[in-house]
């Protein structure tokens, strides 16, 4: 009767066919919730992260959990996964009350969590990762490797992954790592699967594959709690949606009763104002940045294009299309192999990031946690870390000028409406959106005229996203040349004057005006995706 026990060997289930899943459907009462959370509160010092949140997960449903950053989604997931203990409230699994004070308890209750940051050990093999902590043993307590490898192969094939289980995880792509996480979950009995932003780093084909797996799980009676920022995905896959705002549940509704706009309104607690994005006709001036036959590591190029002052150039492309490599090459972190980069018509060979900044080029890193923030420094320090002080002497530059920094902080804070209660607040305690604003603030502090923005709204809530788009347009209007590289296609359509589409390291589309649509961008991005691979 345990539906969970049928799951470990997904491959077997496929062979067994539909009658087995039907059995499960008939025997289990559909309306009986697997997991019920009642009035969950979670208090951190100074913050009430969750305030009497209710959640019910039914068998065979995909339940979306949405909310702005800081709404309490991650906290709720951590409470369900046993990483945090709730301050008050009750959790029930199959009608029985449970207490999760460590992740193992949650796992034993049949809850499986796939975090955004994978819980995989890079240096161990795939098989070893799948069974970590639950290794099948032979007599004498030693690991039964043949058994481990055999069952791993079964699990992986079931997920459409044809790789050796003895391969180390560090050799896998992000998408494959995710599938290994799924395999790890499938190797144990579970009835609830929680996925936190699972598509953040996947290409559209990989997203499709993941969705197939999710639907298959649903058919087997699993309750899937799906957390994502991408509303389009939620409307594609979810049966019900729970919206959180400021740690409280705004509501739970069937997806059919909602439109995207409704969900946004629930998340924000107000109507989304459409900041009208004004696009200027591309300036006819000489290009700020001209790229000629550029080639770089990773099979990038040859590429040729111009960026003008006063315009926003979008760069689109799937993961692996060379988007990040291009940005890094323009910023001098990755060295070019051949070709030219001209700044205001003058050829430059960028040695490193410091050189690029001296030349007036700024880059917003792709992942602020890895390449951007200094989590143990405060907001002001993070903001002014590389303040442009060209007129000052070397001695002056060597000494921090608190008053000037404070003035700069206030200027940027007002301009970007950074919500920090003090310049001395640690940057890591800000919400994702405000952290991103601080990162963008560095662009203004640097006084660079060419701005390379990677994923400017990654992990940012809907409201802040609109603000950041407005800011990007404003920067262009003020005479900056802005290059935006993003995996968020609607964003490029919205904010860009023109858009280059990369595929396999080459430009497969250059779109502007009425041609600059989401559909066209996607068509170009996948058109030649197999070229040169």
């Amino acid at each position: 009767m345990e539906p969970g026990s049928a799951l470990p060997a997904l491959a077997d289930d496929v062979e067994l066919g539909p009658h087995q899943t039907n059995d499960i459907d008939r025997t289990s009462d559909v309306t009986e919730a697997i997991l019920v959370a009642r009035r969950i509160c979670k208090r951190f010092p100074g913050v009430l992260a969750l305030d009497e949140v209710d959640l019910e997960l039914l068998p065979s449903e995909v339940h979306a959990l949405v909310g702005e950053n800081g709404a309490g989604k991650s906290t709720l997931i951590k409470v369900l996964g046993g990483q945090h203990e709730a301050t008050s409230g009750t959790l029930q699994v199959d009608g029985r009350e449970v207490h999760f004070d460590d992740p193992l308890r949650s796992q034993q209750a049949g809850i499986s969590v796939i975090n955004q940051e994978f819980n995989l050990i890079p240096q161990l093999s795939i098989a070893s990762n799948i069974y970590l902590g639950r290794e099948p043993r032979r007599r004498g307590g030693l690991i039964d490797w043949p058994m481990v490898n055999r069952s791993s192969v079964e699990l992986l094939t079931g997920l459409g992954l044809d790789i050796k289980p003895t391969l180390r995880v560090e050799y896998l792509s992000v998408a494959d790592k995710q599938l290994v996480e799924v395999a790890k979950a499938l190797s144990q009995d579970f009835r609830v699967m929680i996925m936190d932003e699972p598509t953040a780093a996947l290409s559209s084909a990989e997203v499709d594959r993941l969705f197939e797996i999710i639907l298959e799980l649903r058919e087997r009676g699993v309750a899937v709690l799906y957390v994502s920022h991408r509303l389009s995905e939620i409307f594609r896959i979810a049966d019900r949606v729970t919206v959180l705002r400021d740690g409280r549940r705004v509501g739970t509704k069937a997806i059919g009763d909602l439109t995207e706009r409704d969900v946004i309104t629930m998340m924000l607690g107000r109507e989304l104002e459409d900041h009208e994005v004004h696009k200027a006709a591309a300036a006819e001036s000489a290009p700020a940045l001209a790229v000629r036959d550029l080639r770089a590591m990773g099979g990038l190029g040859p590429l040729s294009f111009d960026v003008h002052y006063g315009e926003v150039l979008g760069i689109a492309g799937l993961v692996g299309s060379g988007r990040s490599e291009l940005m890094r090459t323009l910023f001098g972190i990755t060295h070019r192999k051949s070709g030219e980069i001209l700044l205001d018509g003058r050829p430059v060979v960028l040695k490193d990031a410091a050189h690029a900044l001296r030349e007036g080029i700024f880059m917003l890193p792709e992942d602020r946690k890895v390449e951007g923030m200094f989590p143990d420094l405060d907001v002001r320090e993070n903001l002014v870390i590389k303040r442009a002080r060209p007129q000052e002497s070397a001695l002056q530059q060597a000494i921090l000028d608190g008053r000037a920094e404070q003035a700069e902080y206030l200027r940027i804070q007002e301009l970007l409406t950074v919500r920090a209660h003090s310049p001395r607040q640690l940057v890591s305690t800000l919400s994702g959106g405000n952290q991103q604003k601080v990162m963008l603030g560095r662009a203004l502090v640097s006084e660079a005229r060419i701005l390379l923005l990677n994923e400017p709204t990654r992990g940012v809530d809907v409201g802040t996203k609109v603000e950041i788009h407005g800011l990007i347009r404003q920067l262009a209007k003020d005479g900056h040349a802005v290059v935006v590289s993003s995996s968020d296609v609607p964003e490029l359509e919205r904010v860009g004057d023109r858009c280059l589409v990369l595929s396999a390291g080459r430009i497969t589309g250059s779109l502007q005006g009425d041609d600059l649509t989401e559909d066209n961008i996607i068509a170009c991005a996948v058109a030649h995706a197999t070229l040169g691979v």
């Binding site: 940051e117 819980n119 240096q123 080459r506």
Partner: protein
């Protein structure tokens, strides 16, 4: 267009080949690199001085290697776990003095047993300081390095202890089992035990898991603190064992023994292919790298090079091993980000 495409695929192909060759080199190096270096050095030195390969020299070289290899194999576990133990040199001194002093009071088996227990106890204290007090392994064992050195010197009153009339103990060094010097037998036995532990017991996987991603290990429900303590106990025992082995070799001990052992052990472990960043353990590599270090030292001796050059050689070897490790990880990372595997 077509010719441009051709050119593109050609360049990616050469890059592809270069990358996979580099990858294969490192995978091969992990298992064979040290062996090749041993053969090279041996061939070079023995062609210059034929008595390098005399049985006497070979056996004394292997004994030296065994005395380094035993604590280095313990250290392999610590490094695989993302930790390290800087106190092993002091443990070696302390236990060497302890076994020497005990021998005057009780018999050999009891003295050795008690000494190994002492090593385990020190390891336990290291482990508890790290897990209970939350002191990083580097600092905790650095502190213990000084504490134990002081203890060893206090215990012996700064004097040397000369062991006479202890032929059985000397036998532990000079004796043979099936023609193999006993220290080498001990090293091989430790190798066998730790190899099974690392490769075939869940414990070894968990040690590597902690080194690879401690947060994930915790989230998976592994008993991280307990595993850490056990690893430091193992390191303590192997260091104590090396103390006993060293005593039987020298037959004269004092509190200044084993200075720099931690450096030797770390060099040997990293050269053997275990990453200083944790996550993997190459026990065979450690064993071979210990032999390599002994071969180099012996070669320098036989070529009558100033013994101070041994320090130089060790330091350079350590730096070389570390840069190789960094290069290896950089290549893996590139291969992964470019999806060219």
């Amino acid at each position: 267009m077509t010719s441009a495409t051709q050119g593109l695929s050609n360049t990616t192909e050469t890059e592809n080949r270069w990358l996979s060759v580099a990858l294969r080199f490192f995978q091969l190096f992990e298992s064979l690199g040290v062996l090749v270096m041993i053969v090279l050095v041996v061939a070079l030195v023995s062609s210059a001085t034929p008595n390098f390969l005399q049985p006497n020299n070979v056996s004394s070289l292997l004994i030296t290697a065994a005395i380094i290899a035993v604590p280095a194999m313990g250290m392999t576990l610590a490094l695989a776990m993302g930790g390290l133990d800087l106190s092993i040199g002091s443990i070696q001194a302390l236990t060497a003095c302890a076994v020497a002093m005990l021998l005057g009071v009780v018999g050999i088996p009891l003295s050795i047993g008690a000494t190994l227990l002492l090593g385990a106890l020190v390891g336990l204290i290291n482990g508890l300081i790290i897990t209970r007090l939350g002191v990083p392994a580097f600092v905790a064992t650095l502190g213990m390095m000084s504490v134990l050195r002081g203890a060893a010197l206090l215990m012996t009153d700064g004097q040397s202890i000369l062991l006479m009339d202890q032929p059985e103990l000397a036998q532990l060094n000079s004796g043979q089992l099936l023609g193999i010097p006993i220290p080498v037998v001990i090293a091989l036995a430790i190798f066998a035990v730790l190899w099974v532990l690392l490769r075939h017991a869940p414990f070894g996987q968990h040690v590597c898991a902690i080194g690879g991603n401690e947060k994930a290990a915790l989230a998976t429900g592994l008993k991280v603190d307990r595993i850490k303590v056990i690893v430091f106990v193992i390191v303590g025992i192997t260091a104590a064992l090396s103390g006993v082995m060293l005593t039987s070799q020298l037959m004269i001990v004092d509190g200044t023994l084993g200075v720099g052992l931690e450096l030797q052990a770390i060099a040997v472990v990293v050269l053997g292919g275990t990453s200083l960043m944790g996550g993997n353990a190459n026990l065979l590599g450690t064993l071979l790298a210990a032999v390599l270090l002994a071969v180099i030292n012996s070669a320098l001796n036989i070529l009558k090079v100033d013994p101070f050059y041994q320090y130089l050689a060790l330091g350079l070897l350590l730096i070389f091993a570390l840069s190789l490790d960094t290069l290896r990880r950089a290549i893996i990372k590139r291969a992964v980000t470019e999806g060219r595997l």
